[in-house]
Amino acid sequence: MIFLFLASGLFLGWSLGANDAGNVFGTAVGTGMIKFRKAAIVAGLFVILGATLQGAGATRTLSQLGSVNALGGAFTVALCAATVVAWMTYKNLPVSTSQAIVGAIIGWCFFTTSPVDYTTLVVIMTSWLTGPVLGAVFAALLYLLMRTYIRKSRVHVIKLDGRIRVGLLVAGAFGAYSLGANNIANVMGVFVNASNYTVQIGNLIIPSEQVLFFAGGLAIAAGILTYSKRVMLTLGKGVLELTPETALVVVLSQALVLFLFSSSALSAFVVRMGLPPIPLVPVSSTQVIVGSLIGIGMVKGVQEIRFKLLGSIFGGWLLTPFFAGGLTFISLYVISNVFEIPVMSRQQAVNAPQDLPVHFHFPAYPMVLWLFLALLVVALFAGGWYFRTAGQGVRSRYPLGQWDGNNGYRPLSGEFLGAEGIPGKAIIKPEPGLSDTNRNAVVKHALHLSDERRFLESMRDSLEQAQREPELQKKNERIQGMLTALHQKMNDSAEIRRFYMELETAIGPLPSKLTAAGSHLTVQEKKLALLLRLGLSSKDIAPLLGISHKSVDIARYRLRKKLDLRKEDNLIQYINTV
């Protein structure tokens, strides 16, 4: 039975492994620096080690937030968090498992009227901010160190390549260990108080917590082994623009931050030094990576960080707990009343009032509930607005690694940094949607416009000079010069040729039937046919062919004759339909 309830947590673990392993080994695998098999084995192994050996710290904090003490409740909390994560990633919205699980636990607390430890909540929410900030600081420092080392050591690029490979493997292993240690709380944290399943091997009794962490670690490892390849490969292509050196810095800083927020020993050491303890909370690895990229961008002298896009990403992250909380609240109602599965244990609810409801009835303190519901409604409205406005922008430019309904994984990149951020296509590439061909066309057009403007400016200057010229002869000479320039410009055959080439590229060549039927068509008549295919009037065509309006009409008449059209036939229709 316990395994059935654990399924939602294991699913969450599996999706975390499939997604977040890309943050650790994505660049290394995608760029071919490390083979996927090696990366997956190392990541899987170290995730299990991290989860089992060091997963307790962050899990304890989550338990303090709200002690989910029944398997039914834990199942629902984990399932709702997983659903929100899956749904938001499907919608290409920025999401974090940590925020989702915290929101879901608070939803459980509100439903069961269990007390929420607001001190812990504040600590956790602060870490959502301090995580990326610390990531930025670590990344900036590591980047400076790395840059100094590379510049001073003058190591050959081939040797540097070898060292970076080793570095990426070690940093990846460390990152995977820290990911397991920190994020196992998201996966198994809610089950810790609800489960007392111990395993005995000989005289050795493995406590329930360790069994859960091991199972969660295995689920994450399974996610890495079974589904992260595609993620890593896509991610690597997206981050290809991140140099391996920068990728190493990003992975290291992420691993350091996750380690910092999950190491009980380090926290105890800090306390012994007379400093306040480090809060042991689950933080989002993706958020830390975003912070790290900003840190590197700052060092490199980013001129324009896309704060608007960053704002929308953070907005998405803040919405996650509300969605998860709301869904959990509703799901718990269904689970407890429709399926009659207990979502809270009476015996363990020490802090709860005596008449605690196991099944739903209206909570003891309705004001808080109403406040929560009001917040939920506001969040839903905000979410709706977000989908319609910012969501679209994020969908097309969202830089983080997330699932995309149609294209699989959308890679993580330094896209939100300005043009002088991390060098490469992610930073300087044109907006997605503008293909290379279109971009070239736009560039050509821009150059053409600039050419035209320069010509007009020179004409204006010459006219002004002619106007100021006191001598009639010189004035006439200037005007004559301008006329010549104008004639040359109008007869610029290269320009016209280019235009017709572009025209042919845009609307395609004349249909073979037409050219065959009118094989005796002159060049001018073929041009006329092309322009008619474009839907231009005789008035518009005249300057393009360099003839008068009337001549265009005569040319149209000749074309009709050559194409053997009857009186009732429409020339344009014929040209467009053959």
Binding site: M33, Y143, V157, I158, G162, P423
Partner: protein, 214 residues
Amino acid sequence: MFSSRSNKSIELIDGFFNGVDQSLLIFKEGVKNYLHQNTASFANNLQELAKLEAESDLIRRKIEETLYTQSLMPQLRGDIWRLLEELDNLIDLSKKNLFQFDVENPLIPEELVLDFIKLTQLSLSAAEAVIPAAKSYFNQPAAVSEKIHRVYFYEKETDVFADVVRRKIFKEMPALGLSEKFHLRYFTLHIETISDTAEKVADLLTIMAIKRIV
């Protein structure tokens, strides 16, 4: 194991650069020998250059094979491959141009000998300046831009001086027939192509260095 493999690759790349440098020196000597009519030495230069070109081709292919089979520097190998190809062009051009002297045997008047030597020196200075820049790409990319400006300087100087020589050929040497003038013009162009190729390499290196600078 990885260290020995990388050392071998580094040796190959250094060997290739030496080959390019040597071919430029031989070309310079070859042109001088042709102009001073040292026929035997010129023939020797031709043979050496042909041999060097074949050897450099082999080394280049070996490097490129190593880069791809051993998955070295997946992000940079495309650029490095292009760089090696462009540098190899310098050797090919040197060989081709020297053989053209041999095959077409242009008549170079005495008063143009020094000009042709100077033109060759200028053009080769541009090509020679590109080699330290290419070497520093591999271990000190930030220094590439400091070295590359010499290439642009000599390339420009070559262009200017080649114009001077051509002007001299067509305007100050009425004794030469039009065909001879045309012939000489082609040879100034042949020599110029070496500095033009060096400029191409310099452009490529500039971009490559920017991509590599951390």
